[in-house]
Amino acid sequence: MKTFKILMLFFLSIALCTGSAMAGKQLFVFNWTDYTSPELLKKFEKETGIAVTLDTFDSNESLLAKLKAGGGGYDIVVPSHNFVPIFISEGLVQKINAPKLKGYENIMDQHKSPPWDPGNIYSIPWQTGTTSFSINTDVYKGDYDTYKVLFEPPSELQGKIAMFNAPDEVVGMALIYLGFDQCNENSDQMKQVLDLLMAQKQHVKVYNSDGILERLLSGDAAIHMNWNGYAMRARNQNPAFKYAYAREGVISFMDNLMVPKDAQNKENAIKFIEFMMQPENAAMQSNFARYANGIKGSGKFLDEELRTAPEINIPSTAKLIFIPSCSAKSIKLMDKVWTKLKQ
């Protein structure tokens, strides 16, 4: 009986300790799957003595849902640019006042004070890239620089399509293909988007934003919605995987580091942000994930391949489209399309 009591107290105290203030030297990072360089985290741990724990999510919507549910205790989260205003207006993140932090001058001028976060009060750039799709040119030998092969696939691609499990990315791409505006509030146009996606659905193998690399390599998918950095990693494993730059327009994104309001280790989060504004660290992350970063001077630390790769060097003819932050009305319409699609 007594031993029971002692045991219980012992374990409760362990639990409480691990749950809270033992977090003196801890940092909890919540990032997209397979998007954080393990080397980078190790370097940060070595330099600061702070132990980093990494959890992952697969879409901006999942991140938003998690934070809104109070799911927390994360110190660093990485939303895309179009979700940054939502996080700010919903009070989910706190100010970091980046201009006052060490290393702020390293941020490239064109990335300073972006429209979604004027003054960099809440965020700094993490990685920037494009969203398009990877295609296995061994399976399909035709012209792939158009969304037609994705949304109205030829027979060799039917049944081998993989789309992201994220409404804003899928709907965004469909809107471009149909030539409509982003953040669309027009129900007729959104209805056409739904028709397009429903017609495509029978040829789609799976809606999943994770495991892209594996799905391509194993042959489960011959055409997969993808981001440019990940596409480069796929091409490195098999040169037949090419990244498409659709003529209709290419989606561009910028992911950002932000600190949630209920972060337990704000000072450590700030340290991480200052760490990421150093050119060699930004380069280390770029070398892993294969995306461009927003830090000046990182160029000389980048792998040779990143300088010349087609995934990073966007053809000058490509039309880059930054998806803006959408109004509640357009988000509702997007949700409507998505729910009907997944039913």
């Binding site: 938003l64 849902a65 549910a69 499990n165 193998k205 799976v206 988000i331 998505w338 997944k342 039913q343």
Partner: protein, 300 residues
Amino acid sequence: MNQAKREATRRWLGLGPAILLIFIFMIIPLCIISTYSFLESNPYGGVKPHFSFAAYSQFLFELDFDDNVVFNPAYLMIFWRSFVLALATTILCLLIGFPVAYYIALQPPSKRNLLVFLVTIPFWTNLLIRTFSWILILRDSGVVNNILIWTGIIDKPITLLYTNGAILIGLVYTYIPFIVLPIYATVEKLDIRLFEAAHDLYANRRQLMRYIILPLTAPGIIAGGILVFVPSLGAFIAPNLLGGGKKLMLGSLIQLQFASSRNWPFGSAVALLLMAVVLIAMLIYILGPARKTDMGEHAG
């Protein structure tokens, strides 16, 4: 008087903690989601403190793109799929599980215990792992396709994963131990003399099964059936891992509402509906076969 009071105090001390814990962390949360189902949803997640029937009307109706109220069969489809899959799972489990339970009960005691133990082990291993193993088997580059291609039966892999069939296999695999054990328990209790009596009366095997074995093992069969049907309805892992995000069942639908779909009221409403079905199934069991067994025991 004192004794009674002491009894009462001891009762509350003993039962109190457990009941309190379950009350606070189970009953109250259930009340909370019941409330949520009547509130308006916040597009960014969570709820707004406005009363609204939207969650419930969403089952059947929706506002289409022109804001007209239209009948929406999609969620009924999900219900239907869950119901059919759960039923199919139960029937399959019964067809396989009954012979197995019966056969095991027939064995000599030492062998019997070993076999029961072997049935129980997978039951206690991690469900995620067990379902995951079917991904390895059914995917395009998986074991089945590899064998079929290697033996030359086909030359392109057939799509086995991400289908309703894959989910069915996953569900059967998950829940079949649940049905073997209750049936085994009832078969084990069968009185041998009935068999002998039937044999003496020149009954053949079919009659033996139909008139003696099945009626007597019915409680076990029904208990097992419910133990399979109810959890299958609300299953999450099988449709999530093996269904590819295209084939939603009730469990994955609920989880989605609390994750990226951010529609807590609707998720709560579906959850409550699932609970209602479960309670109805249990009521049917308690008022039906369980009561019959009670009376049987008293009479016999």
